[in-house]
C-alpha cells in the first residue's frame, strides 16, 4: 500500500487515481501508524513553500517521515513535496525544509532570463543517473509535465535527471530511499505512470 500524506495542501485526486490506474492501492492519510505500515510514502504538494512546511509541521508527521526515511522505506516527494525534502528554500524569505536531501530551493527567474516563469509544460528528461531504478520503464528524452517557479540547486549528489530551460532544471532527485520529482508524474501520461510503477516496485531497504 502507498500512503499519500494528507496535510491539506493541493488536490490529490489525480495522484490517487494514477496509483489506482497502475493497480496500486493508495491511501490518503495523516495517520502516523498508517504511514509507518505503508510500503512506501508519497509527499505531495502544491502552493507556497512556507505555507506547506508549516502545514506539514502542524500534522506532527515530520518525525514519522524521518523515521520512515531512516528505516529505508521508499519515499517520494512530488513538486513542492520534493522541494520540502531539501534543506531550505528562498521562496519569499528563507525557510527550513526537512533536510533529507542536500541542496536548496531558489527562484527560476533569478537564474534564467528571458524565459517565462512558471516553467510550465512538457519538457524532456536528461538523465544524470540513467541506471536509477526509477527510470526502469522510461528512456532519456521522454517528456514529463512541469509547473513550478522555484527549483533545487546544490543537489549534485542526489541529481537523477534534469530538464533544459535556460539552465539545468532539477527534475528528479534521489539519495537512497528518499526520492523526488519536480514534475508531476500523475500528469505526465504513460511516462509518469511508468515512473510511479517503478517506484512501487522498490522494496524497503533495497536502496540504502
Amino acid at each position: 500500500m502507498t500512503a499519500i500524506i494528507d496535510y491539506g495542501v493541493g488536490n490529490l485526486f489525480s495522484l490517487v487515481s494514477s496509483f489506482r490506474k497502475i493497480g496500486e492501492e493508495a491511501a490518503v492519510t495523516a495517520d502516523a501508524e498508517t504511514l509507518l505500515a505503508a510500503d512506501r510514502i508519497v509527499l505531495p504538494g502544491v502552493g507556497a513553500f512556507r505555507d506547506a512546511a508549516e502545514k506539514l509541521e502542524a500534522t506532527g508527521l515530520v518525525p514519522v517521515l524521518r523515521e520512515a526515511a531512516e528505516s529505508g522505506k521508499p519515499i517520494m516527494g512530488i513538486c513542492l513535496g520534493m522541494q520540502l525534502l531539501f534543506e531550505k528554500s528562498f521562496e519569499y524569505g528563507e525557510y527550513r525544509g526537512l533536510g533529507l536531501l542536500h541542496g536548496e530551493i531558489v527562484p527560476i527567474a533569478a537564474h534564467v532570463k528571458g524565459l517565462k516563469v512558471p516553467h510550465m509544460g512538457w519538457n524532456a528528461l536528461r538523465f544524470a543517473k540513467p541506471e536509477h531504478p526509477l527510470f526502469r520503464y522510461i528512456k532519456e528524452g521522454d517528456c514529463v509535465y512541469f509547473v513550478h517557479s522555484y527549483y533545487a540547486v546544490g543537489c549534485e549528489d542526489s541529481l537523477l535527471a534534469s530538464a533544459e530551460y535556460g539552465t539545468e532544471i532539477t527534475a528528479a532527485v534521489g539519495r537512497g530511499n528518499v526520492m523526488g520529482c519536480q514534475f508531476h508524474p500523475e500528469k505526465s501520461g504513460d511516462v509518469g505512470l511508468s515512473i510511479l510503477r517503478a517506484f512501487c516496485e522498490m522494496k524497503e531497504g533495497a536502496l540504502c
Binding site: S14, S17, S18, R20, V46, M120, W122, Y145, S188
Partner: protein, 252 residues
C-alpha cells in the same frame, strides 16, 4: 527545451461533446470521456473541457464526466464555462481539473481572478478571452462571443495577468470557424503585452496553420482547436511529427 503544446478543446453540453461553428450551429460528436482518452493516447498535451450547459442537471452531469475523465486520463485538464465564483473553482478542482479558465465570470467580477489566484495559485487560473475587431480595435466579447463588452482586449488581458492569471487563451472570433489559420496579428499583440503563457485559439484548419503559428510567433506556447481534431481533419500524431520536422519542439 519546453515543448509547444497541442490542446484539443471539448465543448460539453448535457454530457456530450459539441462544437460550434462561429459559436452557433451546435453538432454532437462523441462521449467526452472516450474522446479525452483517445486524445491522450494520440499525444494531446493537455485537454480543455468547456461546459456549455445551462441547466443545473447538466452541470452535475458535467462534473461526473470530469471525474470519470480524471480517473482515466493523466494529462493536464483545464475546465472552463460558467465559472463565476470561487465555489465554481472548488467544484471542478475537486473533480480532477488542474486549471480553471474564466471568461465572462471575470468580466462580471474582475476580482475573481485575483481571489482564485491567491487561493489556488497563478498556475491554476487561466484567463480566456473572446476577441473581435471592432472598428480596428480589439474588443472583448462576452457570453460565448455574442456581446461586445466594450473592453479593450490588450488592456483587459494585461489587467488579468496583473491580478494573477497564469495563462491566457486568446480566442479570435474573427478567425474562429473560418479554418484559414490563427489570428497572428492578434496573438502577436497579446504576446507583446504579457509574459505568461499564451494559448492560440480560433482559426486552425490544417497542420500548416500550427506550423505557421509557432514559426511566426515563437512566443506562443500552445495551439488549441476543436472540430479539426474531432472530425479527424488534423491528426495530432501527424501534427506533432510535422512540428518536429520543422524544428518546433514537440512531445512525441
Amino acid at each position: 527545451m519546453i515543448t509547444k503544446r497541442i490542446i484539443p478543446c471539448l465543448d460539453v453540453r448535457d454530457g456530450r461533446v459539441v462544437k460550434g461553428i462561429n459559436f452557433e450551429g451546435l453538432r454532437t460528436v462523441s462521449s467526452p470521456v472516450d474522446l479525452a482518452r483517445y486524445y491522450s493516447d494520440c499525444g494531446a498535451d493537455e485537454l480543455v473541457f468547456y461546459d456549455i450547459t445551462a441547466s443545473s442537471d447538466g452541470r452535475k452531469l458535467f462534473t461526473d464526466i470530469l471525474t470519470e475523465t480524471a480517473r482515466n486520463v493523466f494529462i493536464p485538464l483545464t475546465v472552463g464555462g460558467g465559472i463565476s465564483s470561487l465555489d465554481d473553482f472548488d467544484r471542478v478542482l475537486k473533480c480532477g481539473a488542474d486549471k480553471v479558465s474564466v471568461n465572462s465570470g471575470a468580466i462580471r467580477d474582475p476580482s475573481l481572478i485575483g481571489e482564485a489566484a491567491k487561493r489556488y495559485g497563478d498556475q491554476c487560473v487561466v484567463l480566456s478571452v473572446d476577441i473581435k475587431r471592432v472598428d480596428g480595435v480589439f474588443r472583448v466579447f462576452a457570453k460565448g462571443g455574442r456581446v461586445n463588452t466594450g473592453l479593450e482586449a490588450i488592456e483587459w488581458i494585461r489587467r488579468g495577468v496583473g491580478s494573477g492569471a497564469g495563462e491566457v487563451v486568446v480566442n479570435s472570433i474573427d478567425t474562429d470557424g473560418v479554418k484559414g489559420g490563427f489570428d497572428l496579428e492578434m496573438l502577436d499583440a497579446v504576446c507583446s503585452a504579457v509574459s505568461v503563457p499564451v494559448i492560440a485559439s480560433g482559426g486552425a484548419g490544417k497542420i500548416e496553420d500550427f506550423i505557421e503559428l509557432f514559426k511566426t510567433l515563437p512566443k506562443v506556447d500552445a495551439g488549441l482547436a476543436a472540430s479539426i481534431f474531432h472530425f479527424g481533419e488534423v491528426k495530432i500524431a501527424d501534427l506533432k511529427r510535422e512540428m518536429k520536422a520543422h524544428g518546433i519542439p514537440a512531445r512525441i
